[in-house]
């Protein structure tokens, strides 16, 4: 191994370094300077430092384009990873904005530090082509998220959710590690590309199949695909709302991206096929199976929910199903750039939409103290702007044009159909996804019906929104509309970045 130029390494990892510095700064500021200040000020200052850290990191990403890989893929910096990291940072920024009214904790500094450390983990996750760093960053992210889930210490359900998440996550991490070590054992290298090259031509040996399944299980847990989703409804329900938003958005973006990389690069050559009556073993049929059950179970179970956070959790599971379809499209190397762009676009817009929906939910929770469907009754009168934003988010999740969610689904489905162009073999999956999208509209409209149609009970007063809420929720709604109307705002730079990164 060649010697490392640490200065160069620091420059390449500068965004992550900035985030870590911000994490330390926020802890220091809160514990040393702001200790005796009122909660409101502490939250504002903590949020401001967090936001500043994210912004500086974003600026660095935007202003300092670098393209390099160090230590044989331990840290890979190319335009595509820069973009995905940017998306993660934006989502963290929004999460921080939603946290400014947190009532669930007095440990402000620790809270923001954990958010930033989780973000740092996600960023390293995105930036890595190496099994070892992937696992370490995965664990960094996961551990932070476990703690954040249990952060509402006086709330039993939060603690319970944290514990369940942790137990489930620990098990999944064990699977992942086992799978990765099998890969290392088979290939003798931790680099994804090198491993694929070493295993080329052997086909799907039984040991590799076990490794593949283990890895898929580990990541399936992270992205909440059925049947590894069981932690998700409890965690979403129990976790403080901003933490749930981060789990549902940033963590999902990073995990899906890295799963795409692991499968596409590390398991190149054992794709197999999930086409109708053309099954052949590999990761494609595996993902196809998971996608089908995720879409089915996520959408159908969401129908039965009475709590909106749980509803969003099942909706997230259903979306994981759609995204797994997007991964399927990567199995074929023709049209891979388009499929990858579609996937990242879907992830970004889904992340923004989910954070927005959780933002609306957070405001309502603060006012009503719970997230039952009934609490949405009369929202359009109590807070017309907020209700309008909710319409944008939920309809985007349902995939109604011209919102971003529609185009995300559209591009992903197009990519999937295009991935097996000769036989249209994956059409059955797309047809199922579209049918289930129609089902999903039912439960999203259940929420909107209460917000707009059902007559409110007398005495419900107007909801007063703070400027942070307005800025964060309104900005996210605007972004969802804009990215829907002009998808090329994101798609064309992504396309260019993918070309430069060379997938």
């Amino acid at each position: 191994m060649s010697t490392v130029d640490y200065l160069e390494l620091l420059k390449l990892a500068a965004p992550e370094t900035i985030v870590v510095a911000a994490a330390v700064a926020v802890l220091f500021v809160d514990l040393v300077i702001m200790r005796d200040e009122p909660m409101r000020h502490r939250l504002l200052i903590g949020g401001a430092v967090t936001g500043l850290g994210c912004l500086v990191a974003l600026l660095w990403l935007a202003k300092v384009p670098v393209h390099a890989a160090v230590l044989g893929g331990v840290l890979v910096v190319d335009p595509l990873t820069q973009w995905v990291k940017g998306i993660v940072l934006v989502l963290t920024l929004c999460t921080a904005a939603l946290s400014l009214h947190a009532k669930f904790t007095e440990h402000v500094g620790e809270y923001f530090t954990l958010v930033l450390l989780a973000t740092c983990g996600m960023m390293f996750l995105v930036s890595s082509d190496d099994l070892l760093t992937i696992f370490v960053s995965l664990e960094l992210t996961s551990l932070c998220l476990y703690i954040l889930t249990a952060f509402s210490k006086r709330d039993r359900s939060s603690a319970e959710a944290g514990l369940k998440y942790f137990l489930f996550g620990g098990m999944a991490a064990a699977f992942t590690l086992y799978g990765l070590s099998l890969v290392y054992g088979l290939a003798g290298t931790t680099n994804l590309r090198a491993a694929a090259a070493a295993l080329a031509g052997q086909g799907l040996t039984p040991l590799l199949a076990v490794a593949l399944i283990m890895v898929v299980i580990g990541f399936g847990f992270k992205v909440a695909a059925v049947p590894f989703h069981l932690w998700a409804p409890d965690a979403y329900q129990g976790a403080p709302t901003p933490a749930a938003a981060l789990i549902a958005s940033g963590s999902k973006v990073a995990s899906f991206f890295v799963l795409a990389k692991v499968l596409m690069l590390g398991f190149a050559g054992v794709e197999g096929s999930g086409a109708w009556r053309q099954f052949s073993a590999g990761w494609a049929p595996l993902l196809a199976t998971l996608a089908v059950v995720s879409m089915l179970l996520g959408n159908l179970a969401a129908l039965a929910q009475r709590r909106v956070k749980r509803l969003l959790a099942y909706s997230a599971i259903a979306h994981a199903g759609y995204l797994l379809l997007g991964l399927l499209a990567l199995a074929n190397s023709d049209g891979r750039p388009e499929a990858l762009a579609a996937l990242v676009y879907y992830l970004a817009t889904y992340g923004l939409t989910t954070v927005g929906a959780f933002g609306v939910l957070g405001v309502l929770e603060r006012v009503n103290g719970s997230d039952r469907l009934e609490d949405f009754i009369g929202l359009s009168r109590r807070a017309p702007g907020l209700a309008l934003c909710l319409v944008v988010f939920l309809l985007s999740l349902a995939g109604i044009p011209p919102l971003a969610g529609f185009f995300g689904k559209f591009y992903v489905f197009t990519a999937v159909v295009g991935a097996e162009p000769a036989r249209l073999g994956l059409l059955w999956l797309v047809a199922l996804a579209i049918a289930l999208s129609a089902v999903s509209l039912y439960y999203y409209l259940q929420v909107l019906k209460r917000a707009y149609v059902v007559a409110p009970v007398a005495g419900a007063d107007r909801i007063v929104l703070t400027w942070e809420d307005r800025l964060a929720v309104g900005g996210l709604a605007l972004a969802v509309v804009l990215l829907g109307v002009f998808p090329s705002l994101l798609l064309s730079p992504l396309g260019a970045a993918i070309q430069v990164a060379g997938y």
Binding site: L167, F168, I213, F228, F279, P285, A301, L303
Partner: protein
């Protein structure tokens, strides 16, 4: 010059942004709206002036220096539609004129519209208009020009109908919009044809533009119906648009009615800028109009048509103007007539001759309209010149500036711009080898112009004030208003007054321009024509006294003198005493005067022919729609109802009992998902193990197949 063209888009963009900003202002934010509009136009004027100065001295020999910037707009199949800006003397001079005159009119409007509750909206529309007009001026693509052209039409519609609660204003707005649309149809057809033939609508594009040699050479060689060259046919179709917009016969009918809008609008749109757009269009596509198989510059069929239409309009409208009594209507017909002169100038003399008159006319006609607005403002919204009179004493500034405008329009020699530009046209008409008739008709038009302007000034500013007699004619019913000859003494609070400085200052500036602009195009120093044609101008007294020039000058001086003299003799010597008195001409030849007052019955003719035919056709269509198509729709509807009934039955008894019931159970009980999600972590982990086994089975099974 090359650097400036990159920023040329600022000229229309600034007013456009202002219009957008004003659109979201609330009604009471009047001062802000006015500041935005005036400020943005000031910016446009600044950029226009920079552009203008950059074109000075850049003249090469023979051909005007021209820089342009083209950019792709969108792609349609294999074709890329491109737009662009152009900076040449024509565009620069026009842009400076439009922004300068608009700026003065904006300032004037602050005073004129001070009492209107929709002041903010008014300025929004004005800014939109200015943006569209300036965009039209700098367009290097006929498509962009057409877009701006239509936007200008829209702004004009909105502004004519600004007082939409007046039925006459609403009708006038509609009339203007529809009448100009008739011409625009020809324009659009011309553009489509041109695009089909040349594949581009960019005027100049490094040799590939539709106004450049290679495209034109292709066009002149082809002929279409009646032996007409394709270039001539396209030129004439485009000229249709100019006929509509510039109020040439037979589409002139909308322009006088458009005076229903507020007076600054009349000045801005229907005198100085928008109606000149038609003339500008012809000047812009002059290479196309000029292209002819015979290859004689300035003598193509299309230009001959332009000249004839122009001169007929000039005389026709001047005749009508003689018998009108509404102060703005006289000016409106005068505008139509002068636009005819410009067309004549383009037809017989080329771009420089027509554009020179356009520029001078813009100054003095804006001055006249604003003066008329000042008069109307001063006598409390009275527009009938028979109920004015003697206003030179209470309104001295308005009178003095109006007199300057009137003399410029009438062509009083040497000191007034109208004289020089009109003389240029007559001189060119005299030299036209096709026919001498336009020259003599032009002289007649000039005579009539001097005459009706003298008549108007005599009515408005001289003689006794007949304002108090409004009661007698029952328009402003005020039963106790005494019959007054000296209004200042008797009319309490209703006496004529001079307008505020915000209105008189623009008048003074425009009066100065109405005098000064003439001197840049005299035969002795033909700077402006030379500038437009890209040549240097030299100062030579001698040319002033060359025989041809001097002869025309003397002749037109005589003509103007006769017109003014006759006017004074008829109206100034013995002004009418009462508003109801017959006109001097009416006493002499009532039937002719009646015909002129009725505008040659053109409106009635259209009413009896096109509009009635159209009405019948529409009634027929309505009948077919109701009975034939309606019947079909009804039939389809019945079938659909039958299907819907079937579908409902199916829905209620098949779907509801099946799917809905299943859904209901799922929703209520949570079904098997609830059993899966039992909250026990140990069970969750069991699922993980089971999933591992199942997936492994799946892969091995899949691998064996």
């Amino acid at each position: 010059m090359r650097g400036v063209v990159a920023y040329l888009w600022l000229i229309p963009l600034l007013p456009l942004l202002a219009a957008g900003a004003i659109a979201v202002l609330r009604q009471p934010q009047r001062a802000l709206a006015a500041r935005l509009a005036i400020g943005s136009l000031g910016g446009s004027l600044g950029v226009s002036l920079i552009a203008f100065f950059s074109t000075l001295g850049a003249a090469g020999p023979g051909e005007a220096e021209r820089v342009y910037l083209n950019f792709p707009w969108f792609e349609l199949g294999g074709a890329t539609v491109r737009l662009g800006w152009v900076l040449d003397p024509l565009a620069a001079a026009m842009a400076v004129m439009v922004s300068l005159v608009s700026l003065l009119i904006f300032i004037y409007s602050v005073g004129y519209m001070a009492h209107d509750e929709n002041f903010t909206r008014f300025f929004g529309f004005l800014a939109l208009f200015a943006a569209a007009m300036l965009g039209l001026v700098i367009a290097n693509s006929l498509l962009l020009l057409f877009i701006c052209w239509e936007l200008v039409g829209l702004a004009s519609y909105l502004l004519i109908g600004f007082w939409y609660h007046k039925p006459s204003a609403a009708a006038a707005a509609k009339k203007a919009f529809i009448t100009t649309r008739v011409g625009d149809l020809g324009f659009l057809l011309g553009l489509v044809w041109l695009y089909a033939e040349t594949g581009t609508l960019l005027c100049y594009d490094g040799g590939n533009g539709c106004l450049e040699q290679s495209a034109l050479a292709g066009l002149v060689t082809q002929t279409t119906v009646a032996g007409l060259g394709v270039s001539t046919a396209i030129g004439l179709l485009i000229f249709c648009g100019a006929v509509g917009k510039s109020g040439q016969v037979p589409l002139h009918v909308w322009l006088p009615d458009a005076m229903e809008g507020p007076t600054p609008v009349s000045a801005l749109i229907h005198a100085a800028t928008m109606v000149a757009a038609g003339v500008f269009l012809v000047a812009r596509v002059y290479p196309l109009m000029d292209a002819d198989a015979a290859n004689l510059p300035g003598l193509s069929t299309a230009l001959a048509v332009v000249a004839w239409v122009g001169v007929v309009t000039a005389v026709f409208a001047a005749c009508i103007a003689v018998a009108q009594t509404d102060i703005k209507r006289i000016l409106a017909y005068s505008t139509v007539s002068q636009l005819g002169f410009m067309m004549l100038g383009l037809g017989v003399g080329g771009v420089a001759v027509g554009m020179f008159h356009l520029l001078t006319h813009a100054c003095f006609k804006a001055l006249l309209f604003l003066g008329a607005g000042s008069v109307i403002h001063g006598v409390h919204d009275e527009q009938d010149i028979r109920r004015m009179g003697g206003l030179r004493r209470p309104m001295p500034i308005t009178f003095a500036t109006y007199a300057v405008g009137m003399m410029a329009l009438a062509g009083v020699p040497v000191f007034f711009s109208g004289f020089w530009s009109k003389d240029e046209i007559l001189h060119a008409a005299h030299g036209w080898t096709v026919s001498q008739a336009p020259f003599y008709l032009g002289l007649l038009g000039a005579l009539l112009t001097a005459f009706y302007m003298t008549r108007q000034v005599c009515y408005v500013f001289f003689g006794p004030n007949r304002g108090g007699q409004a009661a007698a004619t029952g328009v402003h019913a005020a039963a106790d208003a005494p019959r007054a000859t000296d209004s200042t003494a008797t009319n309490h609070g209703r006496s004529p007054h001079e307008s505020p400085p915000v209105m008189t200052w623009p008048l003074l500036v425009l009066a100065g321009l109405a005098v000064a602009v003439g001197f840049v195009g005299t035969p002795a120093w033909p700077w402006l024509p030379a500038y437009l044609e890209g040549q240097g101008a030299t100062f030579a007294w001698g040319k002033l006294f060359a025989w041809g020039t001097l002869g025309t000058m003397l002749l037109s001086t005589v003509v103007a003198g006769v017109g003014i003299g006759v006017g004074w003799w008829l109206y100034g010597r013995r002004p009418i005493e009462r508003a109801a008195d017959p006109d001097a001409l009416e006493r002499w030849r009532p039937e002719v005067f009646g015909l002129l007052r009725a505008k040659f019955h053109v409106d009635e003719f259209y009413e009896a022919t096109f509009i009635r035919w159209h009405g019948r056709w529409a009634a027929g269509c309505a009948w077919v729609d109701r009975w034939v198509w309606g019947g079909m729709v009804l039939g389809v509807g019945l079938v659909a109802q039958g299907l819907a009934w079937l579908s409902r039955w199916f829905d209620e008894y098949v779907v509801n009992l099946g799917f809905d019931a299943a859904c209901e159970r799922l929703t209520q009980g949570g079904g098997w998902t609830a059993r899966l999600q039992d909250g026990q972590t140990q069970n969750y982990l069991k699922v993980l193990g089971v999933a591992l086994a199942v997936l492994l089975l799946l892969l091995t099974w899949g691998g064996s197949s």
